[in-house]
Symmetry: C2
Subunit: 294 residues, 2 copies
């Protein structure tokens, strides 16, 4: 049994990521009490059924009061309102952290509401599956994945160290970077892939009825991998795109140019260009396998 | 032990698919003798080392002579030349089949070289992994996947039945359709997804050096799934795009229009449009899971 890292942890929003962290903290005896907050009663019932929390509430104020760590895991568009509500009740010395996939707007939306003496450590554990909700979580989700922390100039180093320690114990490799850089990197590695997957699956759903049923039947040829990504939580992803607009649009522009070039090569039968690109992309796969992120 | 379905089977090109079929036929005692043909000595050595064939040769003529079934599994651009070479030595009553991912050009390229009395059954087992080469195959690759046969008007029904029987025993669900329809369906379910994956991975490799190493590190956010697809065999895929040009370009056009619409929604902050699409695409994933193709 480890000495508890936090006496009381409040999860505001408890889906795949939050519930996985709750499971881990629990299993390792790293937390005294867990309070979970969600908007829907169904989620709260599920959390109690799975024994992920000691108490549940639909009121973030109730959850955040007296918590040593407030971990926010809602879609990012909800942060500003959550900040306004919990700001006044936060305990001095409390740490507020989050798991959102964008960081610049999160800092913009949350920071102004947090009183002096409360430490904000914006974070992003880069892990996940296509499933959502507290029933989808598991304690080992974070194992061997990366966690990015984006503390601002004024963030207390001791608070950053504590959050870093928590994710490290959960099996993550923790790295710090500034929020702007985070948003740019994630635009390529996560946001653009999701956007593309959503688009192609959408294109397929718009096909004539007969063709559409065959698309499902023969999806093993590549399509089904996209459907897995395009099954991710709709509201969470809506918010990500709206809150990382500039970086996503820039990457999308680059992608569209590259796609046009490939389209042209196919139209003109330029096999050498195709083979050259396909050989290059294969090498990247090898790098990912070597980096143990496959 | 089953009665052998074929006395002698020649594999011309023996990669992931061919070697998986060879393993299966072997295991079930469904074949008397297997002859494997490949261009590279390295491949032939691997085939012998893995005991996938009784004999190997780099000459398709030697392989096809006296074979009861000639199974072609090379990149599709090689078919015309293979047909010209093996046509004269094929045994009367022999069946020629293939596993290529496009069917119209395959029929166009191969049919003229096959003498009367030889039965051509164009086929496409829709199964695979991102790995290639005879060492990547496994006998259960076909289990619960679909196999599409695209016989032409003149094809002997008995030959079709025999190939259908073979794939069925290998665990596949076999369906017949015309070649043009096949190429259209596969353009959506397989060729477009590969094209998109190759493009996005290419876009990432063109990033500035520092960003690129981070893309590998943080690939777990979605990108790595694309790299898996974009690691598929370069020459095989070059040939697929060049040989299914019209259908691929048409689907690509639809995709590009849909992507532009999404881009516009992000630029103008139209969250409702994003959420609506993301909810629709999630439903398709459920259909695929229900169809047991996940």
């Amino acid at each position: 049994m480890t000495e508890p890292l936090f006496q009381r942890v409040a999860f505001i929003g408890i889906g795949l990521i939050g519930s996985s962290l709750a499971r881990f903290l629990r299993r390792e005896g790293m937390v005294g009490e867990i309070v979970a907050c969600a908007r829907r009663q169904e989620t709260l019932d599920k959390v109690m059924e799975l024994k992920l929390a000691d108490r549940v509430t639909d009121d973030p104020v109730v959850a955040a009061k007296d918590a040593d760590l407030v971990m926010i895991g809602t879609p990012v568009a909800a942060y500003a309102e959550i900040g306004r509500r919990i700001g006044p009740v936060l305990k001095p010395g409390a740490i507020v952290s989050d798991v959102g996939s964008v960081k610049q707007t999160v800092i913009r939306d949350l920071s102004p509401s947090l009183p002096a003496g409360v430490h904000f450590v914006p974070g992003h554990p880069v892990a996940g599956t296509e499933h959502s909700g507290p029933e989808s979580g598991f304690a080992d989700l974070f194992h061997d994945r990366w966690c990015i922390l984006t503390p601002t100039a004024g963030t207390d180093p001791a608070a950053v160290a504590k959050i870093s320690d928590m994710w490290t114990r959960a099996g993550m490799r923790v790295v710090e970077m500034d929020a702007e850089h985070h948003d740019k990197v994630l635009a390529v590695t996560s946001h653009l892939p999701h956007l593309i997957a959503y688009t192609i699956v959408g294109t397929a759903t718009d096909l004539e009825e007969t063709l559409r049923s065959e698309v499902i039947k023969f999806s093993a040829g590549g399509f089904r991998d996209f459907t897995r990504i395009a099954a991710s939580d709709p509201v969470m992803w809506r918010d990500i795109f709206l809150n990382n607009r500039e970086a996503v649009l820039e990457m999308l522009q680059r992608f569209s140019e590259d796609l046009s070039a490939l389209q042209r090569a196919i139209r003109w039968g330029e096999g050498d260009k195709l083979e050259e690109l396909f050989t290059r992309t294969r090498a990247i796969r090898r790098s990912i396998i070597e980096a143990k992120q496959a």
